[in-house]
């Protein structure tokens, strides 16, 4: 198990303080091509830690708000989606949605263009220069931007994503709900050797190529371990666990569940993107007071 660094709180407070030193300076531009009669889409450019200019997609439902919101925190892939692939476009009629490309992802790839695989070990030998310090700041900045939207109902804000969703909710108040699928930062140093699958295989590759860095890598990862963040997450949480027997199944994630102070639901994957996806959509809709969830589901799920 990665032990909590003595200066964990200072490391992240310094990150937040540094981020606060850079004004958001958002620029919004209407995207008529992706605007429908039920939602308006904007491209968004904003500043994060560095300074680093990021890109996102903001969708605002037609009508009078306030609306619940879904924040799609930066994913572990190069492509930024408006809403996740396979989500009914009508989701945008019920929620404000905001999807952010963290540094290195497409449209946020100047000056730094990330490689996949590759991002997970970028600068990993030093916590201060590790790329995920910036990415966590990006994700927090995205939530801050979303919370500032006047159409938003602050009592219904869902952060959706991988580990960054939980880290964001831990470090920045404002998320009322979290849907998180841990993949990168849960007992990473301990679990990576047990898999040959990417993205954790990136850690194995790195340590095989640079064995002398093992202690430094472990030290850096300790600043990112979800177990250390979870006590700070006050939001109601849905943890999407792997199927039984998977590296990150419900049993493996049990310590996270225990550590989360807010209400937690664990959904163990049924190895069906339909069943798992439907569960998450219904969970969010129920908690956001959306009665007619069928209307905003993909046609083949109704």
């Amino acid at each position: 198990m990665d032990s909590k660094p003595a200066d964990f709180a200072q490391y992240w407070q310094r990150t937040l303080d540094d981020l606060a030193g850079f004004p958001v300076r958002p620029e919004l531009e209407l995207l008529p091509l992706r605007t429908t009669d039920f939602a308006t889409l904007y491209s968004v450019r904003l500043t994060s830690l560095g300074p680093y200019r990021l890109f996102g997609y903001l969708s605002i439902p037609t009508g009078t708000g306030p609306f619940p919101a879904i924040y799609y925190a930066p994913k572990y892939q190069s492509v930024l989606e408006i809403i996740p692939q396979g989500t009914a476009n009508l989701q945008r009629s019920a929620y404000i949605t905001f999807a952010l490309a963290g540094r290195g992802q497409r449209n946020s790839d100047t000056p730094y263009a990330a490689m996949f695989p590759g991002l997970l070990t970028e600068g990993i030998e030093q916590a201060e220069t590790y790329i995920f310090r910036g990415l966590a700041a990006d994700s927090i900045r995205g939530l801050e931007f979303l919370l500032a939207q006047r159409e938003l109902d602050p009592s219904r804000v869902v952060v959706v994503g991988n580990d960054l969703a939980l880290i964001t909710a831990a470090l920045r108040p404002g998320a009322t709900h979290v849907v998180a699928t841990p993949a990168l930062f849960y007992r990473t140093a301990e679990l990576a050797p047990k898999t040959q699958a990417y993205p954790l295989e990136e850690i194995n590759d790195y340590l095989r190529a640079f064995p002398a860095t093992a202690a430094a890598v472990r030290r850096t990862l300790a600043y990112y371990d979800l177990q250390t963040f979870t006590p700070r997450v006050k939001a109601t949480t849905l943890l999407m666990a792997g199927a039984p027997g998977a590296l990150l199944d419900a049993q493996a994630l049990a310590p996270l569940v225990t550590a989360l102070p807010g209400p937690v639901t664990v959904h163990e994957s049924e190895q069906s993107s339909y069943k798992d996806g439907l569960y998450a959509e219904q969970w969010m809709a129920e908690r956001c007071g959306i009665a007619d969830v069928l209307r905003i589901l993909p046609e083949h799920w109704r």
Binding site: S78, Q85, Q196, Q271, K275, P298, E299, H300
Partner: protein, 310 residues
């Protein structure tokens, strides 16, 4: 319960009379471009059991294409090969898993993907509608050829047995598997999952999710372009490639697929020319198309047709 999916779904897609002539012309153009293959060892990703290389080659319009190439460290003089084709938004993976099963594996990044985006980068969303009113410049014209050229790269490698090459992929990778199996007679076996790029015009009515929704966005913005869009897509639809497929092929679909409507999977299967073909429809599954159960079937299928243990 979700509605039942009709296995006898009839697609509206019709094949243009000059479909074959169009693609023959494209193939002639690319034949004139030297492959200029290059392999660069990737020590960071290489392990005792798997050698990993970055690969580069030229494709249509002189676009330089990147790929990952994996081979088992201990292998026969000539090994079977798998061409792995990526999903729409997926970053092409390093195909170590295939190499661990005894295959040489090439994972292609067609133009616009990470590492193949210096000369062509319409972005995501956008790729699906880039120049969609003109079949001679439509994004997928070069994109398809980039994948087919992966076969040329494999044939250029002395360690690849040219009589044992298979192709596979899911979603867009499934759609690319279809057109690759149709256009490259060297393919001995094909496994396509949840095939995308099949029944475009059906899909945009059957579902309203991205990526297909890109086309609906485009048509809403450019309603007068619908005839040109329909004309173009007919040259790129997997349904119109399907009758050219003669190798053994398996297809898996999810009956609750929210990305690639299962109706189009049935329409595709019904048009495939091969006699040795089998469809695996998975009820209770979405775009995963039953992967958790189906992967063992894919492994068995390729083992039967490509004999990695030989």
């Amino acid at each position: 319960m979700p509605k039942e999916v009709r296995a006898d779904y009839q697609s509206k897609m019709r094949k243009p009379t000059d479909f074959e002539a169009f693609w023959q012309d494209v193939l002639h153009q690319v034949e004139a471009i030297p492959l200029a293959p290059a392999m660069v060892q990737e020590p960071l990703r290489t392990s005792d059991d798997i050698e990993v290389f970055q690969v580069f080659y030229h494709s249509l319009d002189q676009v330089r294409i990147a790929a990952w190439y994996c081979r088992p460290s201990h292998r026969a003089e000539r090994s079977p090969a798998i061409l792995f084709l990526p999903g729409y938004q997926m970053d092409p993976p390093i195909p170590k898993e295939w190499a661990r099963k005894g295959y040489i594996a090439l994972s292609v990044a067609p133009r616009g993907k990470l590492r193949s985006m210096h000369q062509f980068n319409p972005g995501y969303p956008n790729l699906l509608t880039h120049n969609i009113v003109d079949r001679h410049t439509y994004a997928y014209r070069g994109f398809y050829v980039d994948t087919w050229r992966g076969i040329d790269f494999l044939l250029s490698r002395p360690e690849v047995d040219p009589t044992r090459i298979g192709v596979t992929g899911t979603s867009q990778g499934g759609g690319l598997t279809i057109c690759t199996a149709a256009m490259r007679p060297e393919i001995r076996a094909a496994a396509a999952g949840a095939p995308y790029l099949c029944g475009y015009l059906d899909a945009i009515e059957l579902t309203h999710t991205y990526p297909y929704e890109e086309i609906n966005d485009y048509l809403r913005q450019h309603p007068d372009s619908r005839p040109a869009v329909e004309e173009t897509l007919a040259y790129f639809d997997g349904l119109n490639f399907a009758d050219h497929i003669t190798c053994p092929i398996i297809i898996n679909i999810g009956l609750q697929d929210n990305v690639c409507p299962p109706e189009t999977g049935y329409a595709l299967f019904n048009r495939i020319g091969a006699t040795d073909k089998r469809l695996y429809p998975y009820n209770g599954h979405g775009h995963d198309a039953g992967r958790s159960q189906h992967s063992v079937i894919v492994d068995r299928f390729f083992a039967q047709h490509l004999s990695p243990e030989r």
